[in-house]
Symmetry: C2
């Protein structure tokens, strides 16, 4: 398929996490349209999978979502940081765990209609205890449950965070294939 021509870019906001541009582009076929595009540094997230088949989740306050959500440990990529290093760092900072092995699941677009955000997903095994180190603006409680209970919470609509749903479903798929 054809390429798209970018005609103009206007930066409306350069923020702490997100930068908002409005771009005028000529689409394949010739139509000209204005697109709102949120630039995002990208993130990494990790399923802490214990040897007994349980997973550690964090319950985190998310103002945009209007409450507390179950999530896997995750965070923004820092400048120059690899997704793997970010996943290991967030696993320790948020959940107080060190990863032995770290296996990539996928990297996905959260909202390709208006954002360039990519989240890199991993599953971590060989977990050992570390020291949790929350940032001042993180409101987090740590919980642990059997993976099957977490999957049931997805089906029941009690786990609603996108990265967490994808990573837990892909972890379950990997475990089914191994057995």
């Amino acid at each position: 398929m054809e390429d798209v021509e970018e005609l103009s870019v206007t930066r409306l906001h350069a923020g702490r996490i997100v930068t908002l541009d409005v771009k005028e582009v000529r689409l394949p076929g010739g139509a000209v349209t204005r697109l709102e595009i949120i630039h995002h540094p990208g993130a990494a997230a990790v399923v802490p999978l214990h040897e007994d088949g349980s997973v550690t989740l964090v319950v985190q306050y998310r103002h945009a979502a209007g409450g507390y959500l179950y999530e896997i440990p995750a965070g923004l990529l820092e400048e120059g940081e690899t997704p793997e290093a970010c996943a290991r760092r967030e696993l320790t900072e948020e959940a107080g765990l060190h990863a032995g092995d770290l296996v990539p699941l996928t990297a996905y677009h959260t909202t390709p209609g208006f954002s360039d955000e990519v989240i890199h997903l991993f599953v971590a095994g060989g977990l050992t205890d570390g020291t949790q180190a929350l940032e001042e603006d993180e409101v987090i409680e740590v919980t642990r449950m059997p993976l099957e209970d977490a999957l049931e919470r997805i089906r029941a609509g009690a786990i609603t965070d996108g990265k967490t749903i994808i990573a837990l479903l892909m972890t379950a798929e990997r475990l089914r294939e191994e057995t």
Copy 2:
């Protein structure tokens, strides 16, 4: 857990799809932080599941993601529109299909760290042919493949759209439970 107090809201952009606010909030524990919050009207997306076990996907140009992505039919909720009606409308407009039955899979937060966007996911069966009706700024090709091929593309990192990954994995899980 405690509530969060909103201290101030500054609207930076009110746009076609996204509205950007910066909010100052007092978190449980007392820390005051500035949050960038993207308001989004919400969306619905639908897996068109044919009787032979294949699914219809659309290949759509996404400027923010830098190229063409495999996606399930989806679109923004129009004012006053239910998620079910939106899913049926987008299924016809983007894929040229009418849904007989429409079963909810879940509703999830795409990016709760900075946006209130919720996408309602469905799987549609009893499909019959309708008439595709694209908007001027939609660049879409329709394709059909066995669900198992689509799942393999997720594992291979060739399907990277979040809503599409969640909806296809949850559809596969439902089919496994039925058999």
